[in-house]
């Protein structure tokens, strides 16, 4: 029996009221209902805003769901047609490759820079806390604001990056960062790295803080300092935080739409289309909701694969 129950049963008889027994019974019943009511709004929200969309998307992806559906209410079942249409589209492979490059490039960049910064801030110096907190700013701004700022910096003719590169004599002609199919993907990866650094820094820093100081003291006695200490003490102890940082990073990056739309709208010549932007395009530009749903389901499937890999990896760790 739990403490809570012991307490209530113990106090009931001492209550002054004479008709305590039925009241208590009614109270207990009411209490069980009240407990459930605490959860009901959230449960309904999650069912309506996550459960329903997932099921609805699955259904839509097997239907010919277009603008006409809104007019006549008809969305005929078409089997796998939507999936066939999106997968055989010439853009699909490109979008898939772009998604992979965008995700890998962003994650590697964010993680390495975030890790170096976390190690740096793990040292003790004046103003450490304030400066580290200010690093969070890019992450808290609306993504579209970040896109706007970088649009100004990367602008081909008068943007400060090209102006600086030309003044320093590093390049002869301005680089068309966002307007050339050859460099646009690199440019959006760089911007996304900038946006992801705060998240990686914060998680990895808190992971470093949780490593007990005496491990380093003991290591120092055995001659493990500097890089040796990093490889033999920091890295193994940071394993759990590193894997969750990477997993969340991958899941967040796969679904990025805002930044790409703000910077390039998927262009030039589809050089920055990903599965996520394609899904948006099909549904909300071409109004082929069935195909958009098929693409977004493929996106969920990819995220799911990563989540399963992560779960298996962490479980193996626990078993060890």
């Amino acid at each position: 029996m739990s403490d809570a129950e012991t307490l209530t049963t113990a106090t009931e008889p001492t209550a002054p009221s004479s008709d305590i027994a039925p009241a208590a019974r009614r109270g207990r019943r009411g209490e069980e209902i009240a407990k459930i009511l605490f959860v009901v709004p959230a449960a309904l929200t999650i069912i309506a805003l996550f459960g329903y969309p997932v099921v609805k998307n699955l259904a839509m992806s097997f239907q010919n769901y277009t603008l006409r559906t809104f007019i006549n209410g008809k969305a005929p079942w078409v089997g796998l047609q939507n999936y066939v249409a999106v997968v055989t589209d010439e853009l699909f492979t490109k979008a898939l490759v772009n998604t992979a490059l965008f995700t890998i490039g962003s994650i590697v960049g964010q993680f390495v820079i975030g890790m170096l910064l976390a190690l740096f801030f793990h040292k003790n110096f004046p103003l450490n806390g304030v400066l580290r907190a200010l690093f969070l700013l890019p992450w808290l701004l609306p993504l579209i604001v970040g896109s706007a700022a970088w649009r100004a910096i990367l602008e081909q003719d008068s943007g400060i990056l090209n102006v600086t590169l030309e003044t320093l004599g590093i390049v002869d002609a301005p680089i068309p960062w966002l307007t050339s199919p050859d460099v646009a993907l690199i440019a959006i990866i760089l911007v996304n790295i900038w946006l992801g650094i705060p998240f990686n820094l914060t998680l990895l820093y808190s992971g470093l803080q949780d490593i007990p100081e005496d491990l380093y003291e003991a290591g120092a006695l055995d001659g493990a300092t500097g890089w040796k200490a990093f490889w033999h003490i920091t890295w193994p102890n940071l394993h759990a935080v590193v894997s969750i940082t990477l997993m969340l990073g991958v899941i967040y990056t796969l679904k990025v739409i805002d930044i790409i739309l703000g910077l390039t709208q998927g262009g030039p010549a589809n050089a920055t289309q990903t599965i996520a932007t394609q899904s948006y395009q099909r549904s909300f530009v071409e109004f082929k909701f069935g195909q958009g749903a098929a693409l977004s389901n493929i996106l969920i499937l990819i995220s799911l694969v990563f989540a399963i890999v992560y779960l298996r990896a962490t479980r193996r760790q626990v078993d060890e």
Binding site: A4, K35, P41, I46, P53, S296, I300, A307
Partner: protein, 278 residues
């Protein structure tokens, strides 16, 4: 003797040097935001200025921004505040229940909440568009508030639950013994004690709803409800003829994040790590 005095001195220098390096790194990181401010204060047309300080600071860009986007800023504010209220109303009781009541299915509920955070926004937008079309919530502030709460509720439950796990059952029980009902004990004891986690969740709900672009883009049609993020996107989409107005709007849209980061640093830091690690 000499070495004893030298070592702390060298140590001091090294610490100051680190602060210096940190400031340089921070300046690099925040350069895009400074640049936005710089351009917003320089009257400019389609060509961007390249001086590092505005030679003749002007608020002309802000004038245009407020004329074009003032209404949109108000819309965004209404959506953000609405999202905070709705998120806290829904998530707080649930967080408490999952932390303190002994339901048998708690692990399943937590798993469902974790998975829900993985669902891409575009999936929600796809389904909500068709739903909203039917029930008349397209192009409405309540429609956008509900969609934004989708993002914040699961996060809010996880953050507040991990905080409420630490609320000692004994103080709630003491209130119950004094005759307080479940709801009253929750409102008068648990909520005040967990205030910090409510603030953290409220802050993030506000910032997410304020910065939301995907729902604003998909659940409205042009010319109706326009949150400021959508306003900036419209500015950016066309050929940009007035950079200072675009950057001024972007600066105005950054103000909530800047203010909250300065005055509520510890709550932000709590949310940044809490959602992922705990």
């Amino acid at each position: 003797m000499a070495t004893h005095q030298q070592r702390p001195a060298a140590h001091q220098t090294r610490r100051r040097l680190r602060t210096g390096i940190a400031i340089v790194l921070l300046a690099l990181m925040l350069f895009p935001i400074y640049w936005m401010l710089n351009i917003s204060l320089q009257p400019s047309g389609g060509t961007l200025p390249s001086s590092f300080f505005p030679p003749h600071p002007s608020l002309a860009g802000y004038n245009t921004a407020i004329q074009d986007q003032g209404q949109n800023l108000v819309t965004s504010m209404l959506i953000a505040v609405g999202t905070v209220v709705l998120t806290l109303l829904i998530a707080t009781p649930c967080a408490y229940a999952l932390a303190q009541f002994r339901f048998r299915w708690i692990n399943w509920a937590l798993l469902a909440i974790l998975i829900s955070q993985m669902i891409p926004g575009i999936v929600i937008a796809n389904a909500l568009y068709t739903l909203y079309e039917n029930i008349g919530l397209l192009n409405s502030i309540p429609g956008l508030i509900i969609a934004n709460a989708a993002h914040a509720v699961p996060f809010g439950i996880l953050i507040m639950r991990s905080f409420m796990l630490a609320v000692p059952t004994s103080i709630v029980e003491a209130a119950r013994v004094d005759g307080a009902g479940l709801v009253r004990a929750f409102l008068s004891i648990v909520v005040p004690i967990s205030r910090n986690s409510l603030i953290t969740v409220g802050l993030f709900a506000f910032l997410w709803a304020w910065g939301d672009f995907l729902f604003a883009l998909t659940l409205t049609t042009p010319g109706n409800i326009t949150p400021v993020t959508l306003g900036i996107y419209t500015y950016l989409g066309a050929h940009i003829s007035n950079w200072s107005a675009v950057m001024a709007t972007a600066m105005l849209a950054s103000i909530p994040a800047i203010i909250l980061l300065v005055i509520a640093q510890k709550y932000i830091a709590a949310g940044a790590t809490g959602g992922a690690v705990k």
